[in-house]
């Protein structure tokens, strides 16, 4: 009982029954962001719009220069082999060994810890499935590097499966965006019917485009464009703000991956979808506060309310980003090679997502006000 009491005393602080007066009346909370903070986010919105535009532009340039995103074998088809040597091996020797089994044009890359002597072999074909192949390759590599080795992982994706997965991934991104916008416009503006109509129109548009046999990326770009136009004319402000922020986050994350020339694989798509969920989480919390403040201070200008709402939620936004980044960085550092890129994508996404919910999502709500004045 005594220990429980002690614990609860610590938890709640001094109590009336203890008979002691608290030394200070107000014990200061530990704070990263002071409650009375008032940064003029909205006033500086043009600057940040420019910054975002520049980042998106760089993304587009990088994508054009690299001829689209660099697809991993999940989407492109091909073979990936992860091998681990017992002793250090030279990449040159590995390549020589590979050329004796007809894999001369494959790329070899060191992988994971330097002490692990692990390498990734990537090649275009689907050789790994031919009878007796892995034994031949192992023998060839062992004689070329004079070190015994273990084949730890083989991934072979045929071109047909690659294409299927590519389409699946794009559809997943699209449907996630679609469902989320329906939810937001329904939930925030109580326009469930309208959002249902939007969804219906989109599905119809997709169906019609599909009849013309256009490629999937184009299809989805067209669908997104239709979505934005619909939201603009139906004045679904919150949905518009949210979806612009999401597209912003996904685009920039893709851009950074493209600039660093990293592969897009299935886990990266999972990361992008999670980023969508996460960034929206932030955005919704700000939007919720905006609605609350609209009721509370209905005489104030929208600009004031937006700024106040962003400031009030700033502490929470930063705190959650910190805890999320803490775990992601540990995953990045300790999680091993296979999960490395996933963690990296998430780290970028969380940073960009936090930025966008402050600087991108809310200022967009102002767009209609400015349009109304003209």
């Amino acid at each position: 009982m005594q220990t429980v009491r002690l614990f609860t005393d610590q938890l709640i602080g001094a109590t009336a029954s203890s008979g002691f007066k608290p030394i200070r009346k107000e014990v200061a909370h530990m704070q990263l962001i002071k409650p009375e903070i008032n940064i003029n986010f909205i006033g500086n919105r043009k600057m940040f719009f420019m910054a975002s535009l520049v980042m998106i532009l760089i993304t587009l340039i990088s994508l054009i220069v690299h001829n689209g995103p660099k697809l991993g074998i999940d989407f492109k088809g091909g073979t990936l082999i992860q091998i681990k040597f017992a002793a250090p091996a030279h990449i040159e020797n590995i390549k020589t060994g590979l050329s004796t089994v007809g894999l001369g044009n494959s790329s070899v890359q060191s992988f994971g810890d330097q002490q692990g002597y692990e390498y990734l072999i990537r090649t275009d074909g689907t050789v790994a499935t031919t009878e007796g192949f892995s034994i031949q390759m192992q023998n060839a590599l062992e004689s070329a590097t004079t070190s015994s080795l273990e084949i730890r992982r083989v991934e072979m994706v045929g071109p047909q499966v690659g294409q299927d997965l590519r389409e699946k991934a794009l559809f997943a991104m699209f449907f996630a965006l679609l469902f989320i916008t329906i939810y937001i416009s329904g939930r925030f503006e109580l326009k469930w019917i309208l959002s249902g109509v939007v969804a219906g129109v989109l599905m119809g548009a997709i169906y019609v485009f599909n009849l013309f046999d256009v490629s999937i990326p184009f299809l989805i770009a067209a669908a997104l464009l239709v979505t934005l136009v619909l939201f603009w004319f139906l004045e679904l402000k919150y949905a518009m703000g949210a979806i612009v922020a999401l597209m912003h986050d996904v685009t920039i994350t893709v851009g950074i991956f493209s600039i660093l020339n990293k592969d897009f694989t299935l886990p990266i798509i999972a990361a992008l979808l999670t980023i969508i969920g996460y960034s929206l989480n932030d955005t919704i919390i700000v939007f919720d506060r905006i609605r609350e403040n609209l009721r509370k201070h209905h005489k104030q200008s929208l600009e004031f309310i937006l700024n106040r709402s962003v400031n009030e939620t700033l502490s929470r936004t930063i705190l959650t980003s910190i805890t999320t980044l803490i775990v992601l960085v540990t995953l990045f550092v300790f999680g091993g090679g296979i999960i490395h890129d996933f963690a990296f994508a998430m780290i970028i996404g969380v940073i960009i997502g936090t930025y966008s919910s402050i600087y991108v999502a809310s200022p967009i709500l102002l767009a209609w006000q400015i349009r109304g004045k003209k």
């Binding site: 938890l11 014990v27 992982r153 699946k168 996630a176 469902f179 999972a270 959650t320 805890t323 775990v327």
Partner: protein, 592 residues
């Protein structure tokens, strides 16, 4: 207190249920080898010497599967020990703790092979047409209808050239009576010769394709069962694809070779009237083809390919086999595969050998010649053997493939993902390390930042992880490496709900509310926001679940479980803890 009590009961019930579901995962299963298991093992065809050895392990309670395996390994030695071991492990009784649901590990964590293969069903249609063509040729001969060419064209079509009007009339009648099922695509006449092109109607073709896929699935399942893999998952995917998951498999190349083998066994006569070398130069006689015998010198590893001129006509196929077994040659000690035919097959075999004494008969498997012995005399009794330079393993796999039957059409591998057991163990280790380090850092952060309330949030966090794990076991979901990443991510994001509430409480307190009112207001205002925010993550996770494959599905599962668990802990559990402390005492300030 009254309105609190049902919540308390619910929270306790959930926590207790979570712990119960975790027991089977934490407590290792016990293994015992009973009489029943032994007799099942005997039924699976393990040699008596092994069964006798096994009786020393009988009726002993082993505290874990690993323990049992260790004992088994020290008992079994030799070439086939691995294979016997998996059969024995399959049959040994495993006693798990109630509720018998363990967390399943994905292939990326326990090691294993994931394969997607496509049945080339069009080949089944082609061989069907080929057979119809052969039948038509011999029937035409019988009915004395003249044809100047009967060939399979464009894969699945049959073109017959019929000279002479009179003849054509007879041919038409012949088609109407004997080959009603064929669809006539076109007729064209040139210099008195009419060419009729036919194929099978679409419904028929679809049926053949469907049947081929179903048969292939069944055959592959049989082969894998006989190969001895514990808990394989073999299922059809779409129209003509087959998905195979073989957890924990060691010799992946061997498994792949066995599964992918068409195993079409054919007996064909050698064409000894022509010279092979002339045929190689291009003058291939009609109705014959060149096939190779491939032999490998066991010492020099040199491969030699010997060409043979073989008559195209198949005399007998493996469809008439009743059994195929590995046997050891008594003279040289080489393994060979002995074949037993059914009655009809035996009769056909006797006729072939009787009609062709002193000629050579080739044993062809998947268009590769294994041997081409000279027929010494008529062979009755329905027995034959395949010899060749086999290792015991190769002979064994060939016997399995022949017993399970030929695939109705060749298969090609579309996708393969193999993870070695050591990499799987590595992934588990690294995942757990990141989880523990990340968890500790977040817990410390929350404690420093929110002090007393941080402890409440941390309690919720730990319970969260327990709930996710219990959910995985309870729903029999599969934990994958991205799944572990999902749990780690949840650790970071789950505190968000508590951060929202705590920040709100702080705000309310700066407005001058009493702790109790601040907590009430904090929870009330934050609840809706938290629900909204989490629904979106849930939407993303559900979409991922729908579209994702294997490991990614695992991520979607842990992420969804994490969201639901964190809603429960933050909205119900932590509020309950706050209320408990605030209700019983007159609290003047909060440690938050």
């Amino acid at each position: 207190m009254k309105n609190l009590s049902w919540k308390v009961v619910m929270v306790i019930a959930v926590i207790v249920a979570a712990f119960i579901y975790l027991i089977p995962t934490v407590v290792p299963e016990r293994v015992k080898l009973s009489d029943q298991a032994l007799s099942n093992i005997r039924k699976d065809g393990l040699p008596n010497t092994i069964i006798n050895q096994l009786s020393s392990l009988k009726d002993i309670q082993y505290s874990s599967a690993k323990d049992f395996e260790r004992n088994l390994s020290s008992l079994l030695q030799g070439d086939q020990a691995e294979q016997y071991k998996s059969t024995i492990l399959q049959h040994a009784e495993k006693q798990t703790v109630w509720p018998h649901k363990k967390i399943n590990l994905g292939l990326d964590l326990q090691g294993g092979m994931h394969l997607v293969l496509e049945v080339e069903t069009i080949k089944a249609v082609e061989s069907n047409i080929e057979r119809i063509g052969q039948e038509m040729r011999s029937l035409l001969k019988k009915e004395r209808i003249r044809q100047t060419g009967l060939d399979r064209i464009e894969g699945t079509k049959l073109a017959v050239r019929i000279p002479d009007e009179n003849n054509l009339k007879k041919f038409d009648d012949f088609l109407d009576t004997k080959f009603k099922g064929l669809r006539i695509l076109s007729r064209s006449s040139q210099e008195g010769v009419t060419t009729v092109v036919m194929d099978l109607p679409d419904t028929e073709t679809d049926q053949i394709k469907e049947l081929a896929t179903r048969q292939a699935l069944e055959t592959i399942r049989n082969r894998i069962d006989q190969f001895g893999v514990t808990e394989p998952d073999i299922r059809r995917q779409g129209e003509n694809r087959i998905l195979i998951q073989l957890p924990g498999i060691q010799d992946t190349q061997r498994a792949k070779d066995l599964i992918g083998k068409t195993a079409l066994l054919e007996f064909k006569l050698l064409d000894e009237t022509y010279d092979v070398n002339a045929a190689l130069k291009g003058s291939l006689p009609r109705g014959s083809e060149i096939l190779y015998q491939v032999t490998e010198d066991p010492e020099t590893n040199r491969i030699t390919r010997t060409p043979y001129l073989i008559k195209k006509r198949t005399m007998l196929t493996g469809a008439h086999l009743t059994d195929a077994r590995v046997q050891i040659d008594s003279q040289y000690g080489d393994p060979y595969v002995s074949l037993s035919f059914d009655t009809k097959g035996g009769r056909i075999f006797a006729k072939i050998t009787g009609d062709n004494v002193k000629k050579r008969l080739a044993i062809v498997l998947d268009d590769r010649i294994y041997s081409a012995p000279v027929i010494q005399e008529k062979i009755t009794g329905g027995q034959a053997r395949i010899t060749g330079s086999f290792t015991t393993e190769e002979a064994n796999d060939l016997a399995i493939a022949l017993r399970a039957g030929a695939l109705p059409a060749p298969v090609i591998y579309l996708e393969e993902r193999t993870v070695g057991p050591s990499l799987g163990a590595d992934s588990i280790r690294k995942g757990l390390i990141s989880m523990i380090i990340g968890g500790i850092l977040v817990v410390l952060f929350m404690m420093v930042y929110y002090k007393g309330a941080g402890i409440i949030a941390n309690t919720a966090l730990i319970l969260n992880i327990i709930l996710i794990a219990a959910g995985l076991a309870g729903f029999q979901a599969t934990l994958t490496l991205p799944g572990i990443a999902g749990i780690i991510l949840t650790i970071g994001m789950a505190v968000d709900a508590n951060v929202l509430i705590f920040e709100r409480i702080r705000e309310e307190m700066t407005l001058g509310k009493t702790p109790r009112a601040a907590v009430e207001a904090g929870y009330d205002r934050a609840t809706l926001t938290i629900l909204d925010a989490n629904v979106t993550t849930l939407i993303a996770a559900l979409v991922l679940f729908q579209f994702g494959t294997g490991p990614i599905k695992g991520f979607a599962v842990t992420l969804s479980l994490g969201v639901i668990a964190s809603l429960f802990t933050s909205l119900i559990l932590t509020r309950l803890i706050f209320n408990y402390f605030l209700m019983n005492r007159k609290v003047k300030r909060l440690s938050i």
